[in-house]
Symmetry: C2
Subunit: 283 residues, 2 copies
């Protein structure tokens, strides 16, 4: 089976690298005239899937907005993952789980691989308990050809204090995590490895060093649109790494709903921009 990185890179070329975030927040459900319930989330997902077309590489449902409606909401998460895959895109479940040992393995068993109940192609994780503690999950992902994205540099300013803290050898927490990802990936693959990084598209300054420490990882870049960054920012900040980036857009697209036509137009425009960002870099 091909790895998540291989599948993504192929889609990024033939479609566009766009990662479409599915965030059925209560305010958006209201704005779309849908009930604040699991059924409303289901309608929301149906509308987005109708509008999606065949140019999106990755769909990223945010688990919190499904969990807020309990097990019935989680059933809609299962369904949107399946609908995404039926449309030829990859499903990246944004759950930011983090724990140790068997607990972490259970999260892998929950979220990634075709045998898992949620069935994602990839998931996000959090490393407050240490990168090495993530290994049981990373190993399961590798076996299954799934991807894992470790939050390294978040797009929110409140995360900087912790992410810029210095470990004993002088590296920042974020750069040390990036180095850990690089070593892990190099042991698995000569190309891009199974472990990616989440790096806010708004990053600058000390984050550039972190990015330079990620030569063999995919990079999920949230923060485009509603959070203030543009594709041009991403191209400028990421340099050549833009070829390995999953530029993620949620609110800027979803705010066009519930009109399927307007959503479709916005998705197409964002796909064009995402593709152009790659092509400009490679020109």
């Amino acid at each position: 089976m091909s790895s998540f990185a291989e599948r993504f890179l192929k889609l990024a070329q033939s479609r566009s690298p766009l990662c479409l975030g599915i965030d059925p927040a209560i305010e958006l459900l209201k704005q779309w005239g849908l009930p604040a319930s699991a059924a409303g989330v289901g309608n929301f997902c149906d509308i987005v899937m109708d509008a999606m077309g065949d140019r999106v590489a990755v769909v990223k449902p945010q688990s919190a907005f499904f969990e807020q409606f309990g097990p019935d909401g989680m059933q809609e998460l299962v369904r949107v993952v399946r609908m995404t895959q039926e449309r030829g895109a990859l499903a990246l479940i944004d759950v930011k789980r983090g724990d140790i040992g068997h607990t972490l393995e259970a999260y892998a068993d929950a979220m990634i691989g075709p045998q898992s109940p949620f069935g994602g192609d990839a998931m996000t994780v959090s490393a407050y308990l240490g990168f090495d503690a993530l290994k049981p999950l990373l190993n399961k992902a590798t076996e299954r050809g799934a991807g894992v994205f470790v939050v390294v540099r978040s797009s929110n300013p409140e995360g900087q204090t912790l992410q810029n803290a210095k470990i004993a050898d002088g590296r920042t927490v974020a750069t040390a995590l990036a180095d850990d990802i690089t070593v892990y990936n190099a042991n698995i693959s000569k190309g891009i490895g199974p472990v990616g990084a989440v790096m806010g598209a708004t990053i600058e300054g000390s984050a550039t060093e972190t990015l330079a420490s990620l030569p063999n990882a995919l990079i999920l870049a949230p923060g485009i649109g509603a959070q203030g960054a543009t594709f041009s920012d991403l191209a400028r900040n990421f340099g050549n790494a833009v070829n390995r980036a999953l530029p993620s857009v949620s609110r800027a697209i979803l705010s066009k709903g519930p009109s399927v036509a307007e959503l479709r137009r916005s998705i197409q425009q964002h796909c064009d921009q995402a593709l152009r960002m790659r092509e400009t870099n490679n020109a």
Copy 2:
């Protein structure tokens, strides 16, 4: 309505402070002769509830072991929370969620308070994206009289590099988080505030400083039993803070199943030890 801290401190005195972890891992289900399915998890929870008696203050289901069986597994999480509360104990859902803004609010809406689908009295969270980013969730918890436990010092060695990293003013990441908790709690309450800390029972060395920075917080202390710490370790390492501790035991008790009689005896013994730990400290 009384706060989570008030409810816990009352139960700790009248029952015992024991926090009973519910970890239906696949190996445990097998060991108990139960199917590896949501139904097996349901049976597992029924057996633990049968054995629980009326001395446990807090029950802590680990979400990963419910999520691994998809939405049906999550339905068992809803059920075990309700069964816990029907038995007069508090339900602390161990989910270690972490994110920003509306996403984090959705996690609060999912997990805590009687109106939420999972209905927990408290939940655990992770702060890789910064303590301030947690505030929307902490504020919702405060309004609802619910508790939140931020992972500060984990019981696993792999977490030390990050948790001991130094922020710009020289404090460790863990101590800075502890200080943030203290300030937040002091703004809410003159006593113990709504935000607790997760501090592994095995902590020592630099963690003592972190603990000293937590004068007005409950402390969830996992790692007793299977992870190597004892109640005596906890009493020695925690000093007076032991009065605010939720000593958490999972595997050491659960390994006695599926015999209800043996589970009941082990739970009683652990309740006795947990109560004695408090009383010795206060003698």
